[in-house]
């Protein structure tokens, strides 16, 4: 198992009304290339902050400490840095997001002044380029080109597809734009790609969907479009942040099945952020449980579900109300 990214001692604080709120506290974990990794927790657990930090989408006012180090096996050369409308551009200069290349000769990577970042071994023991307490704007420009780019190397699917899609742009154009921006395709190639993608996410009528506007689609269909846009550039990592929470159970199951299939077909790594431990267990191979900004428990899905070590994980499992759970209501007295 090779790691895709290593998170070490990640701390994120937001400033709110003059006081600092720690959203993540000293989180360390590795995400392996090609795995389906779930981050679960309740509101305020920091799970979305972690997803945003990995994608480089944290708001500018947040303070970041620790490191997120990427090991992208085949880093493509950058095409264009025009930010796509669907996926906000990553800004790797916030916090310290380094990049190293495993499997390719070091010569393939031009390193700027801070060449020590390239010395990080894929096994990751000690972080050489690590700094504490919110390193900002210290990434040299030449290195920036080799850090993962949102939309190209990371696909992000948000909870609310109506908010993440542009309401006045045809969905075909929104998907094509990602391909155009990151793959260097012509517009006609991009539209052809968009159509293939809309077929892949199984929209009922891809030709019509290309010209449809978001308000003409149902919530589930919009989320399919958002997924198509997220995978348009063939990212290494797909982050789904509560991507099914706004949908009803049936559509949720369909979207989860779709994500599972796409991830398998494209060999993507999946980061599945959810509040629902049962849903995460159906999809992920490993689960990380968060609470109040701290990593509570991390393990293989089967172990987390069958023999949780932490009391909080057990409490989350006990709180789950499934069809097989003993009903809270005693049915004995009920009659009609």
């Amino acid at each position: 198992m090779t790691a895709l990214l290593s998170i070490r001692d990640l701390t994120v604080t937001y400033r709110r009304d003059g006081s600092e709120v720690a959203a993540l506290k000293h989180v360390s974990l590795d995400v392996a290339a090609g795995e389906r990794f779930a981050i679960i927790g309740e509101s305020g657990s920091g799970k979305s902050t972690l997803a945003l930090a990995i994608a480089g989408l944290l708001p500018g006012s947040s303070k970041v400490g620790g490191s997120i180090v990427w090991k992208l096996p085949n880093l493509r050369s950058p095409h264009s840095f025009a930010p796509p409308s669907v996926l906000p551009d990553i800004s790797p200069t916030r916090g310290e997001i380094g990049s190293s290349v495993a499997g390719t000769p070091p010569a393939a990577l031009e390193i700027g002044e801070s060449g020590n970042d390239s010395a990080i071994s894929p096994q990751v023991g000690e972080m050489s380029g690590r700094t504490e307490g919110g390193a900002t704007d210290r990434q040299p420009a030449s290195l920036r080109d080799h850090t993962p780019l949102g939309g190209r190397d990371i696909g992000f699917v948000f909870q609310d597809p109506s908010a993440s899609l542009d309401p006045v742009m045809a969905v075909g154009e929104q998907v094509a734009e990602v391909a155009h921006t990151h793959l260097g395709l012509t517009w006609s190639q991009s539209y052809a790609k968009a159509k293939t993608l809309l077929e892949r996410v199984r929209l009922p009528d891809p030709d019509a969907a290309l010209r449809a506007y978001p308000h003409q689609l149902s919530g589930g269909q919009k989320q399919r479009v958002a997924i198509a846009a997220a995978i348009a550039a063939g990212p290494k990592l797909l982050i789904a942040d509560e991507a099914t929470s706004a949908l009803d159970t049936i559509v949720q199951a369909e979207i989860v099945a779709l994500i599972r299939q796409l991830v398998a077909e494209d060999g993507m790594t999946l980061l599945f952020v959810s509040h629902d431990i049962a849903l995460a267990a159906e999809l992920a191979e490993r689960i990380a449980v968060f609470r109040h900004g701290e990593l509570v428990e991390l393990g293989a899905t089967a172990q987390i579900i069958a023999s949780p070590r932490h009391a909080y994980t057990r409490a989350l499992l006990d709180a789950h109300l499934g069809l097989d759970t003993e009903p809270l209501l005693q049915q004995a007295g009920a009659s009609r």
């Binding site: 509101s43 009803d248 159970t249 049962a278 109300l321 499934g322």
Partner: protein
């Protein structure tokens, strides 16, 4: 057998969308006995929330009857309707949107007591403190603003407001869907305790069969505005007959806590 607290028959509500007319609710009939929970289940767009709004007379049906506490509810109007509303309350999905953003907890709970003349002005602060205690909150919370308290606390306040007028039926429209799982369970427990103590009937609307099987006596499964099937909640969910019922059961996330699923997946 007592007479039902709510009986609706042939309820229909149509919407015009462009040139077409769509029946959001199409000839729906069911009834709820006092002190029982009837759940409306179905995917989004199946008409669950429209039924809730029709039952509460927030919108008017195109056809059908609603009988509440043995009387024709649709014929009531003006002051008579407003007075009768004391017995028929609602808890919304999003507890933040359900309250005036400028209100304090005290004002939210004061309104129903004042409007229905349940307590004199001087007695109301004590009533409010008692209501807060009933839903498991501290009486100090009364002075806080709605936007200052947590989502779980807000939903308890929503329940406190709903029970302030001693209703016989509360409509719960996805009332626990937006809550964290641990809070969700506590709120469901609170609802069950209140039902046991006060014999309140619930019309419980949810797309989550797990929650429904935990607290409902009966379930009506809706599909595109029509009843797909109905009956005892455990029976229907245990062995659904309709296609939509089967789809809902299949789609519900299942936790198999003893098996080693996923391990095989990993290899």
């Amino acid at each position: 057998m007592s007479s039902p607290i709510l009986a609706i028959s042939g309820l229909t509500k149509r919407y015009r969308r462009g040139s077409r007319t769509i029946a959001a609710v199409d000839d729906i009939s069911f009834h709820i006995e006092p002190g029982e929970t009837l759940a409306l289940a179905g995917p989004s767009g199946s008409g669950k929330s429209t039924i809730a709004r029709l039952v509460l007379r927030l919108i008017e049906p195109d056809a059908g009857h609603i009988e509440f506490e043995g009387g024709d509810f649709l014929s009531l109007n003006g002051a008579v309707l407003r007075a009768r509303r004391a017995h028929l309350q609602m808890v919304f999905q999003d507890p933040l949107a359900a309250f005036n953003p400028r209100a304090s907890v005290a004002r939210v709970l004061d309104d129903p007591l004042r409007i229905h003349g349940i307590a004199a002005r001087s007695e109301r602060p004590r009533r409010i403190a008692a209501l807060l205690e009933r839903v498991g909150l501290s009486a100090d919370l009364a002075a806080r603003a709605i936007h200052e308290i947590s989502g779980g606390q807000r939903q308890r306040i929503a329940i406190a407001r709903a029970i302030a007028t001693n209703p016989s039926l509360i409509v719960l429209d996805e009332a626990v869907s937006a809550l964290d799982v641990s809070v969700r369970r506590q709120i469901l427990q609170l609802l069950l305790d209140l039902q046991r103590q006060e014999r309140i009937a619930y019309l419980f609307i949810s797309h989550d069969l797990g929650v429904i099987s935990a607290i409902a006596h009966h379930v009506v499964i809706l599909d595109a505005g029509r009843v797909a099937e109905s009956g005892n909640a455990r029976t229907v969910i245990g062995a659904p007959q309709s296609a939509i019922g089967k789809a809902l059961v299949a789609a519900a996330p299942k936790l198999n806590r003893t098996s080693t699923q996923g391990a095989a997946d990993r290899q």
